[in-house]
Each structure stands twice: as C-alpha cells, then as structure tokens.
Symmetry: D2
Subunit: 474 residues, 4 copies
C-alpha cells in the first residue's frame, strides 16, 4: 500500500489534461485539494494499524494485505465491512469519500466479465484479474465513468442524431480499440489514477458498439477532462473546520486508443446492460454507508444548533432528530440486510441483494431535501444572513457582531459564530446545492431505484396472496 506522498507525487507526474474555467489546470490545483485530502484519508487509515480490520483485506489473487478499496468481496462479512468502512470514513471527512467508485466498478467487472466469459467463451475475466492485480499492488484510485451524455432521452444509443452521444467503439485494431464519446457527471477524475468505463443502460443488438468497458489511465492520450469544482468558502480566520467540495468532469474521448489487455467488454450487448446494472447495484450499496453518514452530519448540526438555541428538549426538536435517525438507520439497516441476503456469483464475488440495496438508496434519495429542510427549520434565518467572516473581526463591527450573536451565555461567541458559519456553508452555499442535487441523483435517482425494485421483486407472489385472500382460483 502506498503513502499519501506517493499518491500525490504520481498525480503531479501525470500529463496535464484537466480543463477548468477555460484553461488547463494542474492536478494539484487548490480547488482539488479537498478531494486529494479525502483520498489521503483513505490511504492513511489503510496504513493505520488501529483500523486494519476495517480498512484492509486479504487479496484473493495474491493473498497480500491490500486496502479494502481495491478488494473484491469474498463474503457477506466483506460486504458488511465495506458498508461500515464507508460510513466511518464519510463521517471522518464530513461527506463523500470519493473512492467508492473504484471498488464498485471492480466488483461489478469481476462478476460480469466471468458471466460473459461463461456465456460467450470470451476471456475478459482473466484480463480483468491481471489488471486488478496491478491495481491492488499499486493501491490505485479509480473513477468510474458510467453516465453518457445521452442526447435525446427517448432514443437508444444507435438512434441518436449524433452517434457519439453515447461512448462507443469506432474501430477495432489488432492491438486495441478506438473509442469516441463523452461521459458526464464523473466525480474525482482530476485526482484519480485510473478511469474505469462501463455502459450506462440496457443495450440492443444494434447498440453492440456501445457495449464497451475498459480501464484507462486518467491522463491517457485522447482524454480530456472538462471540470467543475465546487467548494465551501475557504476560511481565512476561523480555520479548523472541515470543508466540503465536489469535483466532476465531462470525460471526453476523442478517438482514444485502449489496448486489448485493458478492454473488459466489447460488443456483447446483453452483458453491457448487465454491467450497467451491476455497477449501479454496487454503487448503491456504497450509498447504504455514505448516506447515513451524511444524515449523521446533518443530524449533528441540527442537534447542536438546537442546543445552542436552548431548545434541545423541545418536543418538535426531538421529533426531528428522531426523523434523522429513522432515515439514517433504515438506510443502513437495509444495507446490512442486503449483505445478509447476498448471493455468490460465478466468479466467487458476493453480490448484495438488489431489493434491499434499492429500497435503501431510494429511501435516502427521497428524504434528502427533507433532511436539509429540517436543518433549515431548526437553524432559523441566520445561515442565510450571516455577514462575511471579516466583519466579525473588524474593529468597527466585530465587537458588535460578537455581542449580538450571543444566545446561551455559557457558549462563547466564537463557537456560536463557528456553528452558524458551518450552517451557512451547509445550507446556503453553492456546495450545499451541489450536495442536494448530487445526493438525489448520484448512484441513480429515486425513479431509477423504483425501476430497480420492480425489476427484482416478486409481485406475482403477492398477487397470488391476494387471490388466496379473495378465494380466487384461476
């Protein structure tokens, strides 16, 4: 397992292909440092003996100890630990842990490459395992590029006016393939080592060129990363807080070459759709860990502002806090159930139960705005109207603001100020809005989980039950 320094040194050595605000920017741009610190947390905890049970695993390929983020789940216990690790780390960094895409994509590939080989006699699984060994050995960080830009939502990939609106193979060569298209909403790419590309939807025979999966270094030739970075305001005086950020890219492939040893699916359209679902399933399993952590953070702020405002014991405050708990633990509990009810795939990988994963992610998604709403309700208007940090430290206005922010006399003005500045970041910053939209759509919108639920659930058994109650015999 590598060190944080090694990770950052590698980032700095990569080919510049990150664009933002109309310019090429370096991979250690300050706006990426929040993300880099997050990845660093996953590395540090992986190296920390006190977390070794949670953060590391034994590679089923090499038997070596590896960071759990590069592991393929070999048991129910592995799934439970991945969920627990996710919540633990997300609480540590106060939000998204950034590295889940890698573990979710590698697990999905481990299952689907094997199933495809079994069906078609291909040899994707061995290729994938070889690459996985490299990935584990070097303790790499991967983004997963799934969502295509999709053009006209009512048309399939091959029906689009512009065939590039989904990523596809434009040429097959002896040594590899050429791909073209763009993936959108792809998080963490500027500070990831690798990009894993998987399809985004069910595919028909005519969409065979779109059934493509591969891994590619994030700075490969022919890859452009057009980036949006959003963060909470940097503190100048009241430092010591944990800042949130979000970094997403358009990952654009301009006739990019991928060597065969990195191609894990190419043309088997049925398995393209299955891989899309399988990655989504694992990624939603990650959400059963991270969304409860987000609820923990919001709930903590809600409880603290209630305490500072002296209303902690009020009935409606207790009701709201219990609402947070219910959201967090129903999601986490269904995640546990998804592991308990997991199945072992042909490859030996454990696959969480899709119904429990989807109801968990669904519940998280439909409650997210409500969680922000409850925090806004308890916080009052100050998060929206708090003057800039500097006014609290200018001689003309600082003493006045410190005088007038006082609530509970036992809590210092600075701490009251700190809390409301955090609330202002959570509720009234661009980052807050990104957290809402990302928290709703990341890993699939609630409507996608409902589709996932209905695909996996045995409704016919329930109809038979109704017939039994009604005395209907067909």
């Amino acid at each position: 397992m590598r060190t944080v320094q090694q990770y950052i040194d590698k980032l700095r050595s990569m080919r510049p292909n990150v664009y933002m605000g109309g310019r090429l920017v370096p991979r250690d741009d300050p706006r990426f440092m929040g993300g880099i610190r997050t990845i660093a947390t996953t590395i540090e905890c992986g190296l920390d003996p006190q977390y070794s049970d949670l953060m590391t695993a034994r590679s089923h390929l090499t038997g070596k100890t590896i960071n759990r983020y590069t592991h393929v789940h070999q048991s129910v216990e592995d799934l439970l630990k991945k969920q627990e690790m996710t919540r633990f780390l997300c609480r540590k960094v106060g939000g998204c842990i950034d590295r889940c895409m890698g573990i979710d994509a590698t697990n999905a590939l481990s299952v689907v490459t094997k199933d495809c080989d079994n069906a078609h006699g291909t040899d994707y699984h061995q290729r994938f395992l070889k690459w996985l060994e490299y990935f584990q050995e070097n303790d790499l960080v991967a983004a997963c590029a799934q969502t295509d830009v999709k053009g006209d939502r009512s048309k399939r990939p091959h029906e689009q006016a512009d065939p590039d609106l989904y990523v596809h193979v434009v040429e097959k060569r002896d040594d590899g393939i050429i791909v073209r298209g763009a993936k959108n909403h792809i998080s963490i790419v500027p500070y990831a080592d690798e990009i894993i590309v998987v399809p985004t939807r069910a595919l028909t025979q005519k969409d065979a060129d779109y059934a493509v999966a591969f891994a590619i270094p994030a700075d490969a030739e022919g890859v452009k990363l057009v980036t949006r970075a959003t963060g909470t305001r940097e503190r100048k005086i009241l430092t010591g807080s944990v800042g949130q950020y979000q970094v997403d890219c358009y990952v654009i492939f301009e006739d990019t070459f991928v060597p065969w040893e990195r191609v894990f699916l190419c043309g088997e359209h049925m398995f393209g759709g299955m891989l899309a679902l399988m990655f989504a399933l694992y990624h939603r399993h990650s959400y059963t860990g991270c969304k409860p952590a987000v609820s923990d953070c919001l709930m903590g702020q809600a409880a603290l502002v209630a305490e500072y405002n002296g209303i902690e014991k009020a009935h409606h405050v207790r009701e709201k806090l219990a609402d947070y708990v219910a959201v967090a633990e129903l999601v986490y509990g269904a995640g546990i159930a998804s592991a308990v009810k997991a199945r072992r795939a042909a490859s030996g990988t454990y696959v969480p139960d899709p119904v429990y994963v989807n109801v968990a992610r669904y519940h998280a998604g439909v409650n997210l705005y409500h969680e922000f709403e409850m925090l806004a309700d308890l916080s009052g208007g100050l998060p929206a109207t708090l003057p800039p940090e500097e006014d609290f430290f200018s001689p003309e206005t600082g003493p006045l603001l410190h005088k007038y922010i006082m609530r509970n006399p036992k809590i210092s003005a600075e701490n009251q100020h700190r809390l409301f500045r955090l609330l202002s970041d959570t509720l009234c910053s661009a980052m807050g809005g990104v957290a809402q939209v990302g928290g709703m759509h990341g890993g699939g919108s609630p409507v996608m989980e409902k589709i996932g639920i209905m695909a996996a659930y045995d409704i016919e058994a329930r109809k038979r039950l109704a017939k039994q109650l009604a005395g209907i015999r067909d």
Copy 2:
C-alpha cells in the same frame, strides 16, 4: 407439541369468564373462530415436517424440540428465524398471527428476571424458568397484558385519583399476591391458555406496588374478560376467502390471587420499567415480521386490482407498488439488522438492537394509512358501493350486476366480484378500520418509537461530529 384438537378441547374445558355484548359467551363462540383458526395454523405448521427448521427450535431448558413460539432466542439466527416465521405465517392467515405476544413476553421475562436477580438477589429467574418449562412442554398460547387503562395521562400510577387505574399489588400473602386493576386492548385472551402480565411504563419508588409481573391461566378466578370482536362479513355464497378478525379484551383483575411461583416481579420498580421496555422491544421485533406481511397483502390486492382494471403497466401504478415494496422491505431489512446487531443478555437470551427495531416499527406505523390510501386510490369507488352479496345472486339483479361488473373480458365476473368484495372488506369494513387503528398503535404508537429511538441513539456523538466539521473545540 400438542395438536389443534387438544388446543380446542382445552379451551372448551376452561371456566367461562368471557363477556361480550352484555353476556357470558363460550370460548368457541363463532366470533372467536377466526382467531382459533389462526392459532391452529401456528400449531399445524409447527407439526409439519416441511416447516420444522422455521417453526421449531431446541429448548435450551430441556433439549426437546418445541414450537418456536415457546422458545427463548439463543442466537442471532433465532432472531432471524422468528422474524421470518412471523412474516411467513402472517401471509398464510392474511394478517395478525396472534401468538407473538407469548414469545415476546417470555423472552422479555427471561432477560429481566435474570437482571433483577443479579441486582437484587431475588430468584425470579428460576421461578420463571420452571414456569417456562411447563409452558414449552404443554405448547401453550399466551396473551400478554401490558397496557393499563391509565386514567389521567399526565399522572403517574400512584398519583391517580383511583389507585386501580394501573394494575397493582393490594396484598402480599405467604402463598402469593392479590392484584387489582384492569389491562386494556389485550388481544386473543378468549382463546389463549395463559395471560402474562407486565408493567406498562417507567415507575418510581412510590409506584413500587405497580412493579408486578406474573403469569396466570386465562380463566383464573377473579379474572373477567370483557371483549370486543370485529370481523369481516361472513360470506354466504362466495366462500373460500380468508376472513380477518380482531379480538381484544379489558382484562379485569378483581382482587385476583397469584401464587408466588407464578410471580416474576414484585416491587422492584426500576425493573418494572425495564420489563415494560423489554417486552415492547421484543414485540416491536415481531412487527418487523408481521407488518411486511400486511404490506404484502395490501400490495397484492393493489397489484391485482390494477391488473383487473387493465392499468398494471401505468407509471403511477408501478410507482405505488414500488412504494409498498419500499415500506415492506425497509421494515424487514431493519428487522434483519436488529438481529445482526443483537446483544446477548446476562441470561443468555439474545436481545435485538433497539434502534433498528424502533426505526422499523416507526416506519411501519407512519406508512400504514398511506398504504390503505394507495389501495383505495387504485381500487376506485367500488369497494364503498358494492351491493350486498345476495344481489349478485338474485334473479332480478344478479345477471345485471354480473354483466356490469365486467372489466377485462378474460377475467370472469365471479373473480372480479370476489376481488372487489375482498377490497370492500379491506377498505370499507369495521375490520378495515380496526386494522388501521391497531396497525398504528399495536406494539406502541409512532410517538413511542421515537422516544425509543432517542433513548437508544448516541446523539452526542453526532454533535461531536458537527463540532469537528465546524472547528469547534470545547
């Protein structure tokens, strides 16, 4: 394990003390037969080899095979199986399985009698185990009488204008105790063998006389059972359906004698409160099995009426069905999690995690009316306006009603009629209303689960998390 016939014979042999409609009624009154059939189902399945893994257990007292309903949970697996058995049986009978109170009360007593003995040097646990052996050997059915009539809700037991508004000890004798008071909302008593009495709330030193727990035969001297029975209308022509029913009592103790060997708590006020909570915890654990079964039944009716109305593929129907799944499986999933996170008590009994149990029961409770609402939405108005059964079979009107009830020509008029008659029972009968109110309050109202959640959850840890995010150092 006894047979159904033995169970019914014993009922018939009991002292008449069941009052309903102003009269003494026999224990095999037709209005109790729905309940008796339900208990019979638990007996029959217990004797059926195909269900032996689910329905039976090995007694930790005698090593004998016993019906799981008389078992004390010795492992996580036992908790998982109890939950699974509950859902399985509730689906079989189309609603409440009636026998959960017994297993929940015995498990709670197994924990708290031991803890009390450890704290006070009493010997309740051995007494209880002896009684439990009798209970297991005879495969008995127990009601649990917890909820007192409670009088003025703002006052403690000892503060009430009438001291009898909570059940209490009025005299201690050498051979036993005398109790007085009334328990209310007590289900199944007219067709149960035993009544287990436990306290209903936290108690102070001054409430010591109210800290009393015991088991008593349901027909004991000094016990009156004033009963309400509600059922769906009996079918005269369209038989073959599964009727629902509900039977509840005021269990009134008129200076009733209980011998010491059946007294499991008497005066230890702290453990009175703990026993109240412990029974509630186990009983809510039962709800993690039965409420998903209720959702299964409602969901099945919703899916079937949508099919019969030809709108099964409509977006809003799929949305509603997915809503049912989400409710059912979030509740069931949290139940699974409560077993996975269970603790082993001093007595060796496994206690499910209170947070997961409470969020599960809470979620079931706050969604129940919504589940009925969705079914009403999909069913249209006919459940409210369907003419009586007889009109469908009279020569003057029957052919007309059969002609005009037709929807999908492939489904017979009789089956369409059967379905809407079931829907009319589910949505527009006294039983439907009882199912709503009972489903909300049984095992504790949502507000009680919120209290349970807040008592068990580590909110302070979340506040520390918020301080870490804000950079607050106390």
Copy 3:
C-alpha cells in the same frame, strides 16, 4: 317550497324499484332514514326564516323564492353562498348533505345546453328551463347519475366488448329515446325524486350515442336501483348521537324510455364531454364546502379527545389541530377564490374558476387519509377495542367498565364513553371506511383533479417566464 312531510309522502307513493340484499325494499327502509333525515334538514332550513338569506334564492325564471338547492347561480355572491350553505349544513348533519348533486347537475346543464344550442342550433336549453321550472316549483331532490360502469378502462365507449358498459341511446323515437346501460356509485337515489343523467367522459364522433343527458323520475319504468347502504351502528342506550350513513346505487337502465322534453343532449359528442367536465366542476365546487365541514368534524373529535385525555396543550396536539385547520381552510379559501374568479357563461350562469376548484378538491383528496390518521393517533387504541354498548350497562361488567374508562375526573364516565363510541364509529366502522374511500373518489379522484388542473392552467406562460430568467430568446 314543500314540507318534509310532503317529501316523505311522495317517496312513499313511488313505484318500488329499490333492490338491496336480494330483495325489493321500500323507500322508507330504516337504512335510508339517515339520508331522508339529511334531505329533511335541507328542507327545514330552507323554510326557516333565520336561514333565508343563506338557504333561499330568487328564481331567475319565476322570480319566486326557492330553496337554494334548486337555484342556478346568477352571481359571484350566489357561488359564495352555495359554498357557505354547504359547509353549514354538512356540519349540521355531520357529513354529506346529499342534495348537492342536484344543484350541480342543473347548473351544469344550464351552461352546456345553451352552449350546445349556440353551436348546433338545437333547443335543449328551453327544454331544460321548462323542466327546471317544474323542479323549482316542486322543490325536488335530484341525484345525478354520471359514472358509467366503464368496463375495460383502456377502451372508449364504442370500443367495449359489451356496448352497454356505458349508458347509450339504443333507439330514437318520435316521442323520445330508449336508453340502456348502468351508472354506478350513484348516491341518494332511493330517497331522491329525480335522476339527472349526464355523460362521464370525453367522447369522439364514434361515441355519439353515448352523448346523452336527461332527467327521469327515480321510479320510472325500466329503471332498477341496486343498492348498498352503510351506516354507523344504531345506538340502543346511548342515543342522541348523529349517525352517519351512505347509500349508493347501481342505476340500471333496461331499455328505458325518456320523452324528448326531458332529453337535454342527444348525440352532440363534443358537448357530451363538456357536460361531463362541467358537472364535475360544479360538483367539486360543492366539495369546497363539504370537505372543510368533514375536517371540522374530525378536528372537533381530535380536539375533544385530546382534552379528555388531558393532552390538549401538548405541542404535537396543537400541531395536528393546526394541520386540520390548514387543510380545511386552504380548501375553503380556494373555493372562495373560485367564486371571485368565476366567469359568466352564455346562459348567464356563473361558472367557478376551474383551477381553484380543482386545487381545492385535490388538496382535500390527498389529505383525507392523513386526517383520519391524525385522529387515530390522538385517540389511541380504544376506538378499536371498545366493548359493545351492552357491556357498559350489564350488572356484571358495566360498573367495571365505567370505573376503568375514567380519565379526567371532571368528565363523566358516560361522556368519555360517548366520545370513544363516536370515535369507534368514525375510525373503526364500515361507515368510516366508506367515508375514506368516498372522500377520496367522490367528485373525482386526486388524479382527475390533476388532469383538470393541467387542462386549465397556462403552463406555457410559466415556460416563457423561465426563458426570460435564462435569457433564452426563441
């Protein structure tokens, strides 16, 4: 205006054509007496000088004073008064006032017959006015039969396997028409004088035979009324309460003759659809008066049980009561707005604004189950478990039940008993279920109002607004 006695005498003189439970039943069957008393209330209040401003109007045909229920709205004020009268009377009888269908159907016919005449040169309006004068003079009560049985929901009337699944003209004669088919969910018919028949949906050219509207005496030859009556349990001892009931029919036309002077639409398919919408619009306007009254009744029970339970000042109780007020008054307020924004039709009739009417009915519909849920929450389990009335008055159990029902010592046991018996009727009776289903679907389900909203609202103007905000110039 006639007296109650005249109304009942006429009922008794009518041809027996009411079927229930497989038999012909008289129009003064005890199960219809609740409804007859309700209609009687509208008659008595109409004759009572203290209510003359609210309950009567000046006929625009004859200038005579008439019961407002036979009036055609000539002003905004008339619409406001109709709404106010509806709420006033519904509170008086504790639920549905039964007579709104008549006023809503006559108003709809007054508008659409005129519009149709203007478009097609027909003379429906004069025929209608002549009949209306008769209706006003005799102070008659009309049911409106709109909803057809509808068969396969995905097919239009003329596409059905059985052409009779919508009411249609099977023959046109010199003296009138012959109609066949069945209308369903038709309230109050057994104690109404007249049935007004209108189409139920938009119609195409091919559905022209289904575009038929007429008025017919409720006991006309060729009309069968197959009936369901639901009521709260009759009290034997605790009399004095206001019982609820609901009476609905299949109104079946077996080649029924209607003379031309009573035919108000026959073949003009566009106006068939418009009449369907226009009746729905007026009927939903009635709901802006009656649903707030239903909320008043539920809210009153909620407030009273909270008072009796001694928790009236609790925060969550105040919250729930305010929720009831918000539902009631948002619905009532939108009803007021629908009058303020009314339009005057070609016939001179005032037509309430469809957006406000539909948002009002929609809001009532989607909150109804929640209103029952809140009442159940505040009432606790006793409505489901209250023993029969007789047990409260038998010497063996009565004194015990009176002892143990006590809460606030200042409130008599009888009053506490009376309240919970009412709650048991409201929440746990067949009538309660019918009120839920009827309250959701009567006048159109929430999904129908959403369609009504979208049909009437200027969404394009909002898109232009968005383009202005975005700086988009097409």
Copy 4:
C-alpha cells in the same frame, strides 16, 4: 412619484454606514445593483400608464395618485390588488420584490397607532399620518426592522443577560428617544430610504422599554448596517438572464436618537405585541402574492427542462407540474379569501383575515423544499456538474461541450446551455440556498404560522360540533 434616477441619486447622497466584508462600502456597490434594479422596477411600473390601475392608488390623505407601495389599504379591492401587484412584479424580477416591507409596516402602523390612541389617549396616529404623507409625497422605499437578535430564546427581553439583545429605549428626552440594540435579517436596507422599526414579540409590563416603534432614515447617525449580499454568478458571455440576489443586514443602534415626531409607539407593551403580530400579518399577506410567483418561476423551469429533455408528456412530469400549480394556487387562493374576509379597523384600514393569511404562508413554507426537490428531480445532475461558462467558449473544450450538451436537435446548444446555467444558479448556488432558507423563514417560519392559526381559529366551536355528533350534553 419619483424617477429611478432620483431614487439612485438619493442613495448616492446618503451618509456611508454600510459595512460588508470588513469595510465601509458605497450604496451603489455592484453587489447591491440587483436590488436597486428591483426597486427601480417598482418605480418604473408605477410610472407606466399601462399598469396604473394595478400599480397606483389614490392617497386617502391627500387624494393624490401615489405608488401603491406607499398606500394604506382602504378596501377589499386594495388588498386584492396589492396581492396581484406582488405576484406580477415578482414574476417580472424573478423573485423577491423587496418593497413589500414598507407597505406592510405602514399598514400595520396605521391600524395599531389608532387602536393604541383609542385605548391610551396617545397621539401616535396623527404623528404617523404626518410621516406617512411625507413618505407618500416622496415615494420612499422603507425596510422594516422587526426581528431582534433575541439572545436566549427561552427568556423574555427584560430577562436577558444583556438587555440590548432586544432593541429598547434607553432614554427619553424632550425632543426624542435614545434606542439601543440590533435587528437582524433585515433585507434591502442598503438601498432603502427609511427603516421602520417595530417590536418582534409579545411583551409584558416589565418589557415596556422594548415596546417601541419608529421610522428613521437608513443613514441616520448611530445606525450601522452590517451586511451580507448573496447573488447568482455574474454572466460574462451568456448575458441577458435575470440574476437573483439577496441583501440582509444587522441593523445596529448604538444609542441612536429618534425625534418624537418619528416615534409611533413607546412603552405601551400590549400594543407592542399587537404591532408585532399586525406587521407579521400584513407581511404574510405579501407572501400570498410573492410565493406563488416563486412557484411560477420554479414551475416554468421544471416545465422547460422537461420539454428540453423530451419528457414533457410523461405522467410523472405532469404530476409534478400539477403539484406546483396546487401549491401556487392554494396559496394565492387563500390570499384572495383573506381579502374577501377582511375586516375594517378603527383607522379605516383593511386587515386581511388572519386564518387565511396564515394557512397560505404556512402552506408556502412547508412546500418550498419540495418545490426545489421536484425541480432537481426533473433537471438531473447537470446543474451540479455543469462546467464554468468559460469552458463553453474556449477553443479546446467549447465545441466539445456544445456537441455533448445536445438533447432535442431542434433546440440550439446555446439555449440548452442557458437553461442548465439557470438551473445551476437556481439549484446549486449560494443564492439557491439563501432562497430556500429565506423562503422558509421570511415572514415567519411554518411553526409561527401554526401559532398564528391556532390563535385565530375557533377550535371550541369544533369541539361543540364533536359533542353534538357524540350526543354529549355538558
């Protein structure tokens, strides 16, 4: 009525007392220009003959034509027009119209000064009218400073550790009073002419010094304005959009002198509380106009993005749009009802009905986050991940982004880009968060409206209704 130029010239002539970011800033700071343009819109529309009926009124003091924003409502019609004007202007500027505080405060003062004079023989009303004439003549813009910083929420003003945590009179002189304290969350002050100060809560005898109301120029000696300004990102290339902004202040009084002719309440504690409620009532009435406009803006964006994504006809999209309409028009409809049911105060001013005003504001408040949620749902993730404007216009990435943002081929890439940039501003900017928090708390949080509802509603009448239903006779 003055011109925009006169308004801005006056702003520029005022004493600098606006602090932001630790510095004194001018009143025409670019961050205030959004607000200044909004006020300018109210001035321009007031001068525009096509809007004269809506935007102007006849002063009841001078008979002159005045901008409606300086008018005191003399009729139901005035209230209806104020509501309509508010929605009209808010749609024009795409959000808050900023000038409502002035009209709401003057109307509240017109009522309460008269009532106080009638009770106490004071002469506040004449003083106020004299100032009002000046206000009308000069077409001034007023902020209203109501909300005190409030310190410990569980203590009354006079009980606070620091007496200055509510604004209070520290000295009465012959020529006027000296006040100290701070008001918080006060919008628009840097570009307002006047500040009207009113109390924030009910007051006891001991709080008499806190019962103070007055008007003061916004740049008066002894007034410091510590400011927070939030806006959407300024567009560099895609200009032409309507930017949102929000400007709020701590208004700090450091022993500020107010001459008696500008003092409208001083010590009459009962009327202090009444004035607090009366301003809140009028201000919530403003919300019955502005919140529907906010819904219009969100609904328009929702409809447009659905159109651009080609899913406009989808069932769930129609459902969501109807939800927006229901929110907007239930709020607006209740606003209309509040005018129809208004009362005439002793001063002749019309006061809207408090129940309808409060249910309207409540409904707006509890639906706001849901409105954002629906927009996020329909917009997908792009608002959170859209790269900066510059990337769309750089040669390296611009053509690629324009290629890959295409959806419906008939809509230009620029327009699709413009729409998503607007959505990114609405959903994922600091301004979006401020709109959420401000939209929830401005004019009073939902919990405050529930208190307002319960204070004004006749719950006892509903309890009597329940007793009538139950047959309870006290």
